[in-house]
Symmetry: C2
Subunit: 299 residues, 2 copies
């Protein structure tokens, strides 16, 4: 199993056992060392090569969402660009860099920050993304309000509790001895190929989702897939579940309109590509697809 | 890896590539062999020990949701008890049996049906559960409408697409050589103990979720957990991700108020319990916790 997956390694105590206590929550907001991660349309605020943790009292933006506690005190996430009611919000920014505000896109942050900081950034961004998209109740349409410091929202009218959603995605290398099947999406940088992937659907196991997605995207059958590792992926609220699946039958062909190309690469081509001597170009080091490829090279 | 996990094994083609085509969707609804799984407040409709597949045209209840295609034609899910707008709906029933209507709770169905039928029941129930809770847009509160035969709902006002949610849950056996740590929830049948479990949160990998939940519920530290298997769990829309996690440090103690008791059991106690010669009582054969225990006994 690959070590040090980017977007993991946050070191906070999430304090589940205290979150039903409004007095405890109020004390965290009033804590003299309460700090906040700022997440907004332009990404996440950094200070040099570290995540910026601003004093909570200095921030006048959205409602503070409690991420957890570190040795100094509570750490919150704050939405830098809160919306008026009913306005359709964008997601926390993934790309770019704004030197004036110190905001950088999440993907930029992933490549820049030490592991624990990137993990905290992923937690903050996914939580802000979820709250941005859930000001209303999906059952009755009435406004919802934050409870538990942000681990749920409750409907003002019908009382339904809404919990943050995490979307499981399977991502898999289809392998056949010394070759691996990779696909290319039109929107990717020129020359890049990566693992196939797709959302898990209702009524299927991870292993069934792997088989269905490979069939849908590449028209091939695979044998029992082997789980390798997982990675939180806050674009907006996914969880990547990495597998290696042995090819069993069928000639790869583009079925899914999303893929521009699909092809086998040899072990030596992938080894060269990890040294940036491709083609192909590979996904960045912070992506689990890259870690799956490196894991496969070592096996 | 355990074979034949209950709620997997549905044999439909989900037809992802056709779902954007309204003419194709209309043709499926008008298909002479269109059939439907009926899911409602009392559970799911069965016909003896098989899932009942009624002709779609014979059902006058909620909007048909396309599950997929089998060799005979399209198979839909239909909500047997659709609600008025704004009314807070219950979930598809889990318990009980109504001989007059042929409806049985999903847990009853899990123990009764052949594997492919239980998988189809799980798909139908999870999808109906999701649609029941999403008639409105969580961004702006306006009504949403079914698209793609039920794989999404779109907001009539702001246009936001809402996709069905699947909630990843880690479920784990904490093991220490020849003993295993199990917990007991107050609501369970007398004497039953089972694996610890909890929802995956934002900004954590599955492995981190396992460690956090074990710490929160039992106060102990675990080493790197090993993935075993997964199971769709339509109560209402979960996906169970089963692990075995080696105990590393700490004396187990009840931290979480949800647990009534927490204790180590020996390998021979668990072996006797699988022959119904416990204590403890174990979860039913259709639950992944039971499969994890059987897997551990074999290792």
């Amino acid at each position: 199993v690959p070590e040090e997956i980017t977007f993991t390694g946050e070191a906070l105590d999430r304090a589940a056992e205290h979150r039903a206590d409004p007095d405890w929550l109020a004390a965290q907001r009033d804590h003299p060392h309460a700090r906040a991660v700022l997440a907004g349309d332009a990404g996440i605020r950094v200070d040099g090569e570290r995540l910026a943790l601003a004093p909570l009292a200095s921030l006048g933006a959205g409602e503070p969402l409690l991420l957890g506690l570190d040795a100094t005190g509570p750490v919150f996430a704050v939405d830098a660009d809160p919306r008026r009611d009913g306005e359709r919000p964008p997601l926390v920014g993934a790309h770019g860099e704004d030197t004036a505000s110190g905001m950088v896109g999440l993907r930029t942050a992933a490549a820049l920050l030490p592991q624990a900081d990137a993990g905290l950034a992923a937690h903050a961004a996914a939580l802000v993304n979820w709250h941005r998209r859930h000001p209303h109740c999906s059952v009755c349409g009435a406004p919802t309000a934050v409870e538990g410091g942000g681990i749920l929202r409750r409907c003002d009218r019908c009382g339904t509790e809404h919990h943050p959603r995490t979307d499981p995605v399977v991502i898999m290398l289809v392998t056949d001895e010394d070759r691996v099947l990779l696909g290319r999406q039109r929107s990717w940088p020129a020359g890049r190929y990566s693992a196939l992937a797709g959302f898990v659907e209702h009524g299927e196991s991870l292993e069934e989702a792997v088989a269905r997605e490979v069939k849908e995207e590449a028209g091939v059958e695979v044998g029992p897939p082997a789980y390798v590792a997982s990675q939180p992926w806050p674009f907006p609220t996914s969880l990547m579940l990495g597998f290696i699946a042995p090819w069993r039958d069928g000639e790869p062909r583009r079925v899914d309109a999303e893929l521009e190309d699909l092809r086998w690469f040899s072990r030596s081509q992938i080894a060269a590509a990890t040294r940036e001597e491709g083609p192909p170009g590979l996904p960045p080091r912070f992506a689990i697809a890259r870690r799956l490829l490196e894991h496969w090279l070592e096996t």
